[in-house]
Amino acid sequence: MKILALVGSYRKNGNSDIVAKEALMGAQEAGAEVELLHLTDYKIEACQGFGLCLFRKEGCHIKDDVKFIWSRIEEADGIILSVPCYFLESTAVLKQLIDRAWVLAHRGTFRGKYASVMVPYATRGWIPYAMLQPNIFFGILGFNVIHREAFNVQGLGEAVHDEAAIEKAHRVGNELARAVREKDPTYRSEAGLCPICQDWNIRILKDRKAVECPTCGIRGVLKTRNGQIEVVFDEGTLADYRFDPVTGYNHFTYHIKPSKDYFLRTKDERKARGARYKAYLKQEG
């Protein structure tokens, strides 16, 4: 059994590194073989949006280190993602990787693997979207996420002062390894509002009647009970959450692929209308 830690921070021996390593120690205790990759050590180019990767057997055409990262993930049974929150959400390296993961989303390459998320952050109230990118990443890859934990630590390497944080990181790694071994996807962290991604963000739809989890796309209504706000999700939409394999298949099959026909039908009109933009601010020479 192998547990791989992916660290989304440029700072070696920083807090993300420390909690990831402590988690790996916990995983080792549970009998796991471990590995750690700093995502910032690798060349991860931006997705170019061609979409051809979705139709080619060989996948993405970009020559960088992303295929290597996928190969390490493929070899692992469980992933610890330790990614700091600098400005309201994850660091950019994770988003860069997410965009490149699109090709895998529709193939289900990693579906059923296990993951734990750890987010070191500095200031309470400045991390509303900290779990968004980790949820998207593991959602599209089809992982069972069993922890989402935040660590309130600030300066470089300060996590070592916080015994509770270290203990929590150790427990996360240990529980992840045991979950993999026992094939037990039970969620271990505190439950959130969304029963799927466990996040606390809710989007009010423009009709001002319904709300949805912006990550999972499940809908519901807001209610108040005993002075507390509740979100009552529509049972019917739970099965159609964004990262469900059938939803993903339908999205790919009916929202993406038929755009080819639309693209071809509108080609002449697009060419005529697009000419002014091609000419605008065109560099000479």
Partner: protein, 120 residues
């Protein structure tokens, strides 16, 4: 003859928030005084426990979908009917989800999808 305001609302598998039922469409047609037609196309086959279909080289019209066509010469009634259809099923989700609509009907239906129907 196509009426001035005609919109084809194309819903693909998983798009409608609830089952599209003829009796509900009939009720909307009568309540708002507009013509509402419905077409269901299903070309999926069961494979590996899932309903599947190859759509890359097919036309927008022939792939599996449910198409609600709402028509009227009266803009106000047309808008009211589209609004209730969006509230019931949500708005079509792709740029080609209005393909085949009349110019005015398609323009209004698409703008309304941004205004209501959950927004973007």
């Amino acid at each position: 003859m196509i009426e001035k305001y005609t919109a084809h609302l194309r819903y693909y598998p998983g798009d409608p928030l609830r089952e599209i039922r003829l009796e509900d469409l009939d009720r909307i047609s009568k309540a708002y005084g507009v013509a509402v037609a419905f077409q269901k196309i299903d070309n999926r086959t069961l494979s590996e426990g899932m309903l599947k279909e190859e759509t890359l080289d097919k036309t927008i019209e022939e792939i599996t979908q449910e198409v609600i066509t709402v028509s009227s010469d009266d803009e106000k009634r047309f808008r009211e009917a589209v609004a209730v259809l969006y509230e019931t099923y949500r708005a079509p989700r792709t740029p080609y989800g209005f393909w085949g609509s009349s110019r005015d009907g398609g323009r209004i239906a698409k703008a309304m999808a941004d205004e209501t129907g959950g927004g973007w």
